[in-house]
């Protein structure tokens, strides 16, 4: 079977998600605006395209997929879903609205160590679908929050430190700690976490050896357990991976492809969002930003057709149509053209000119 893929990466991702036991979730392009207005901080872009429906309700063009899925989820069961949907957000550079295609999975229900490992494995396989040269950065918001709680900074200092952690800004983190009278011991602890060796085994060994607070050991061991099941050759522990703690908790992660300047995959455990939407279950998921892969050279593949049919003005139309029908019956691909097309590979040439 050699039907050319329209979008090889998204097709591969869809096959991967379906093959891993996730079922496709289709949704409407609109939702009631209220859902997004109440959870604006969860959205990467705060501007939302709204319109009034015929019944007077204020509607929004979907700026996010996860919120819609969670809203429609019913507690008491576990669902494994995948999607490929358009979302509408403002572009940070042009400030204009843009249609962005995302593909991803959501694991909602009973989330445990195995399901976390599973989602992270699917994330790694998703990156492999794009390029072998990839890295998945993993962090734990539970550990980071515990550390920041121990440092006990006020709200403003905490925000400054989070900014420093997110930007690997060790020199400024030290400065902020000094200004806020954080003890030398606690400052050293923070800087140690910020400069942790990214190798998962080494990082976990350090994390498990620390005693930051009461629940730290158990959380660090849990983190280690989740990572121990993964392919560690392209896995890094990096606490600069951060997400809003009002929505996310536990493990958060980002995926990078060599040659693409920003993260192409982002995800994490988002029990806090579930609580905000009055759900008692846990959830973890990720999205692949297909728009960021548009200019990735690894995506450009020359389309291949089993048969190339060339026809002229005097060619019998029935002959051309018969080739199309027989190819479709045989599950073979076919392309018809008046002139040999450029940048196309084919198996058999049928010249009917």
């Amino acid at each position: 079977m050699s039907i050319p893929e329209i979008n090889p990466i998204s097709d591969r991702l869809m096959s991967l998600f379906a093959g891993c036991g996730y079922t496709q979730y289709k949704m409407s392009k609109f939702e009631e605006y209220e859902l997004y207005a109440e959870n604006k901080a969860f959205l990467p872009s705060k501007s939302i395209i709204t319109f009034t429906d015929t019944d007077g309700r204020l509607m929004a063009l979907k700026p996010d997929v996860t919120l819609s899925i969670v809203k429609n989820f019913r507690d008491g069961k576990t669902e494994k879903l995948y999607y490929k949907e358009s979302v509408y957000r403002t572009d940070s550079n042009t400030a204009a609205f843009a249609e962005i295609t995302q593909a991803g999975i959501e694991y909602i229900g009973d989330v445990d160590v195995i399901s976390l490992s599973e989602v992270l494995t699917v994330a790694q396989l998703s990156l492999d679908c794009v390029s072998e040269q990839n890295v998945l950065d993993v962090s734990s918001l539970a550990l980071l929050s515990a550390l920041l709680d121990k440092l006990c900074p006020d709200g403003e200092t905490r925000a400054k430190l989070i900014h420093c952690i997110e930007h690997k800004n060790v020199h400024e983190a030290a400065f902020v700690c000094n200004e806020a009278d954080v003890s030398e011991e606690n400052k050293a602890l923070l800087l140690q976490i910020m400069t942790l060796d990214p190798d998962p085994d080494k990082a976990c060994a350090v994390l498990c050896s620390l005693a930051v607070c009461g629940g730290w050991k158990a959380e660090a061991e849990n983190f280690k357990k989740v990572l121990s099941a993964l392919d560690k050759s392209k896995l890094r522990v990096d606490f600069s991976v951060l997400s809003d703690t009002n929505y996310y908790n536990g493990i958060v992660f980002r995926g990078y492809i060599n040659g693409v300047p920003s993260a192409v995959l982002s995800g994490g455990q988002y029990d806090m969002l579930m609580r905000r939407l009055k759900k008692t279950s846990s959830a973890v998921g990720f999205a692949v930003y297909l728009d960021r892969l548009d200019n990735f050279s690894g995506q450009a593949e020359t389309p291949y057709y089993d048969t190339l049919v060339l026809y002229g003005d005097n060619t019998d139309a029935k002959a051309v149509c018969n080739v199309i029908k027989s190819s479709a019956d045989a599950k073979k691909s076919v392309k018809t053209a008046k002139e040999p097309p450029e940048n196309v590979k084919y198996g058999k040439l049928l010249d009917l000119r």
Binding site: Q133, V135, D137, H167, K168, N169, H171, E172, P198, R236, S240, Y256, I257, N258, G259, V260, P261, S262, A263
Partner: protein
């Protein structure tokens, strides 16, 4: 998994020259970089670095978009544009401050909206927001000191290095917002795939800074 060359964006001007001198001392030199030529890109295959000179305010964009793996720019640019990059090192050079200046003797009575002229709209807005002061920010692209003299604004928010220009125009610093210096910044994705050489370069620069 690393790439053949580490692309480094240098800011044109005196700061960039100082930065290059540090990089050269750190063992990341490249012949021709300091030559006064029209050449735009300089490579040293042995060391695996490629340099290019860009407008100082563009360095962060080159790095954020991945055209450069590393770059050097002032903290003012990072605060103003908030590029999504790693800030790996304070190089301790190009020191100055972002400050509020006004004509000598100016007192903000807070009885009316304060008019502020600046190139750094976001930094100024953030500063006055934190202070709870309602302001009218006037975006200018140069000769900021002229604004209060001609009555266009009450105060200015600008970079102050020695304060000579302010003095010559009967202006004075009334408030320091933040200390500024040159920072080594890195593209997030590049850091993942070239971390060994980036950390090596970063440590070498840190050692030179300490001297």
């Amino acid at each position: 998994m690393g790439n053949r060359y580490l692309n480094i964006a240098l800011p044109k001007g005196r700061l960039g020259e100082k930065v290059y001198a540090m990089l050269e001392s750190a063992g990341f030199g490249c012949p021709g970089v300091m030559d006064n030529s029209r050449k735009l890109i300089f490579e040293n295959e042995d060391v695996g670095v490629r340099y290019f000179w860009v407008k100082p305010s563009d360095v962060a964009i080159y790095v954020e978009r991945g055209a450069a793996d590393l770059g050097v720019c002032g903290k003012d640019i990072l605060l103003e544009y908030e590029p999504d990059v790693y800030e790996l090192l304070d190089l301790g050079i190009g020191k100055c401050k972002m400050a509020v200046a006004a004509p000598k003797g100016f007192v903000d009575g807070r009885e009316r909206i304060l008019k502020v002229a600046t190139k750094f709209v976001n930094i100024a807005a953030d500063h006055y927001r934190k202070a709870g002061r309602q302001v009218d920010i006037i975006k200018l692209n140069g000769s900021i000191e002229l604004a209060p003299i001609l009555g266009l604004s009450d105060t200015i928010v600008d970079i102050v290095e020695t304060g000579t220009t302010l003095k010559e125009n009967d202006l004075e610093v009334i408030e320091t917002i933040v200390q500024i210096s040159a920072r080594l910044i890195c593209n997030r994705s590049s850091y993942k795939f070239n971390s060994d050489v980036i950390i090596k370069l970063c440590n070498a620069l840190a050692a030179i800074k300490e001297k």
